[in-house]
Amino acid sequence: MLTDFGRIFIFFIVGAIFTAGGLMTSWLFRPKRYYPQKLSTYECGEEPIGDSRVKINVRFYVVALIFVVFEVEVLFIFPWALIFQKVGMFAYLEMLFFLLILIVGYAYVWAKGDLDWDKPIPVIPQLSKLLNNKS
């Protein structure tokens, strides 16, 4: 087991050396002619306004929270799956119970709308309204 994990580690090292080598080689060849305009932040030709590390939507955080809980749950299921065939009915009922409790939480989160993403609410222009406004 150790040697196998070691091989993955060797793969990491070889891969890192390879990519670093690629960057180095490119560093040797590439031109380096910089001026301020070239080094400015790209925002479609406009001057960037404000700090670019904008405040993000709290949704991302909530999703990550729910994810962590479920990830732990999934990791609980993995060892169970490996012995399931040998144990049979008892293991099945046990896992059903385990899942049931979590599904309660899942249903709660779903019902309370924490899984809903903020949707854009488009205002569809209607011809009749536009005509009414004009007149």
Binding site: L2, Y61, I66, G105, Y108, D114
Partner: protein
Amino acid sequence: MLNLYDYIFYFFAIVILGSSFVVVFSRNIVHSAFALLFTFFGVAGFYVLLSADFLAITQLLVYVGGILVLLLFGVMLTNNIVNVEIKSGTMQTLPASLIAALIAGLLCGIFYVSNWYLVPTTPELLNNTTAVAIGYAFITTWILPFEVASVVLLVAMIGAVIIARREKAPEVE
């Protein structure tokens, strides 16, 4: 005489210690979070060295794949945190160092008392994953904690979501 395992052990130890120093002393909070990635990685390496394969992967999946992403989101959620100096000042030095010393002593004691399992020798251990043993433990000895764990997870999920939930924003046209 140092063998290969020892070298690997010291390598991971250096990775863990070095990166945790960055975590604690870096002024940039994202650098800290990033260094934490290597700390977690090194700990996973330790688990592998102890032949706890399932734990090592769990460490990667939960901490690196979940908790650290959560931390990064948390950092990005807080506006302009990069410009504000959130360096914690040194206060309450005496109690802090006392507690730190106490915990360090406790850990050292545990290290000393523990019956360390060094290098896997039996082919059975080399070929089987510890996950099977963990699975059997889940349905025999630790069946109650296993089910309680799901309740804990439930409470954690609902509690976390309630705390993090944003107040209903006014409908925007």
